[in-house]
Amino acid sequence: MMNKLVKSRLFWPLIALIVLLLFNAIFTKNFFSIQIVDGHLYGNIIDILKNVAPLALLAIGMTMVIATGGIDISVGSVVAISGALACSIIDDRMKIFGNGLITALVIALISGIICGIWNGILVAKVKIQPVVATLILMTAGRGIAQLITKGKIVTINSAAMVNEYYFIGAGYLLGIPFAVFIVLIALIIVLIFVKRTAFGLFLESLGTNNRSSHLAGIKVDKLILITYVVSGFMAALAGILISSNIKGADCNNAGLFIELDAILAVAIGGNSLNGGRFSITSSIVGALVIQCLTTTVYALGVQPQIISLVKAIVIIAICLFQSNQFREAVFGCFNHSKKSKNLLSKKGAQIS
């Protein structure tokens, strides 16, 4: 039973999250207190849920891409592009589209899908290694976003639809941040798609062995393309959330390094970066761990720049505990019988 629990994908990220929360319960004052201000909930926990939304969305897309054995490092740039497009339209800087809210959202999301198709074609059809293929858009993306905003930071404070747009990223529905609903809806749709259809199985199969999946009749190219499109779409959605939260688009800084955080969330969630078996839920827990860490550092009142140091230590700790070799090396000396059993089963696996 215990063994099964330890092996479960959700175990280590959940432990990390619980440890973080316990740490906060002891050392941070009023971390768990939730008040009602202006008819909506208010507190550190709500803050974490609200701020994790963009990262959680990216983690959903990234998990699927990584499940196929790929990686998408262009999401940060896509965040910048979609934010730039949405804000430019809302602020009526792009005359052709008008300044409607729906138009802005649709165009921004379409831009994400186009970016996804571009990445997908490079990876699936041209067969470029995923890191390089998405590196292209990562490098170019911020430049493109600058082209859209003409090198300026777009603020939408005086636009007609600013309040409606602001609501998406920072508004509250039934007292809960609206962004949380967006993440939940996206998660549910994706989970239904992955768990209730053969899609998820196909993804795992082609992440494990691309070639044999192809021989088994799975349309590998199409599936890979779809995962990158999903990732691009999620990135565009995240871009809308981020830009609406600050009522503006800053092409240089919006979503900077968020791709690293997203990959980190997937890794903390216990998913192998080599592809194969994956769990979107545990990636979301991974995203929560990262956001919880950030909020903790802010709540403790330490210099915010030190966050990267804390992050590094947490990544190293989590990665090492997830590694079988490390666990064997550290805990192996306590139970020799188990070690030899593990070795045997490993040998068996190799033979089979």
Binding site: V132, G143, V310
Partner: protein, 335 residues
Amino acid sequence: MINSVLKKNFSIIITICLFLALFIIGSFTYKGFSNAQVFLNLFVDNAYLIVVAVGMTFVLISGGIDISVGSVVAFVCMFSADLLQKGWNPLMVMVLSLVIGTFGGYIMGYMIHYYGVQPFIATLAGQFLYRGICYVISTESISITDPTYSFIANYQIKLAPKMYLSLSVVIAILMVIIATIVLKYTKFGRNIYAVGGNEKSAGLMGLPVARIKIGVYALSGFCAALGGIVFSFYTLSGYGLQNIGLEMDAIASAVIGGTLLTGGVGTVIGSMFGVLIQGVIQTIIIFQGNLSSWWTKVAVAALLCLFVVLQRVIETRGQQVKHVKVPRKEATISK
């Protein structure tokens, strides 16, 4: 004979040709571009990137990736600026930086090889760690006023009147030469290609995979630290936000220079020209005058795209030729 040499070095020849073409286009379009110092400045301004790209090439050839280098460069600048301010001996500072860089790389390599941590994640941890330490040292920019550093930074090797190179360029070119020799003519270098080509079969052949893989990351850490020292000569200051995204520039240079990210293929000279191509693009954009600097990024990305697609085309063509020559059964086995 010539044909085989051409075929073997095809992608690097393309890279060099492209570099020359860009430079010639620049010389014809802009006044003063063909000045020899403009050419030399490509090296002067990008010396640190060349050094970093050398280390990155080793890692990429072995089939790994190291995204910590940008932070290492920033860390070394910050660290040496801080120690020099406290009156340390400059030579000691340099040696210490190199030791720390190498040791950091060693640790990351150890985690990657023995604990099975993904290279991307392990070096990502390194990136965050170094960046974090930068901010622990100081969140402000620290300038370097040490006389030795200033002397090295301002020393000009006169090649001719109005033509000079800095000492950093000498370091960079030395690194490229040494790295090329190591890769081509030593056991360690050739083993890297073997591990990059197929780690399992390299292990079965009896090659010391652990030593090679860890060594490669240690080497990359060393190069990044050296790049950091060169960069501190270049800017004479340390700042925690320096060189964000440098690792991607280094990777892009290597890819433009013909290194495959799947491992097993690549040259250091190619990476150097990859850096120089980025330098030329930057120079052209500066000479053009009315374009923003982010156009550099778009141009580099376009080139990167062109190169990887070109490499793919050449690769698939090569495979097709092989398929024709080899009997079908053998071909499937070798796959």
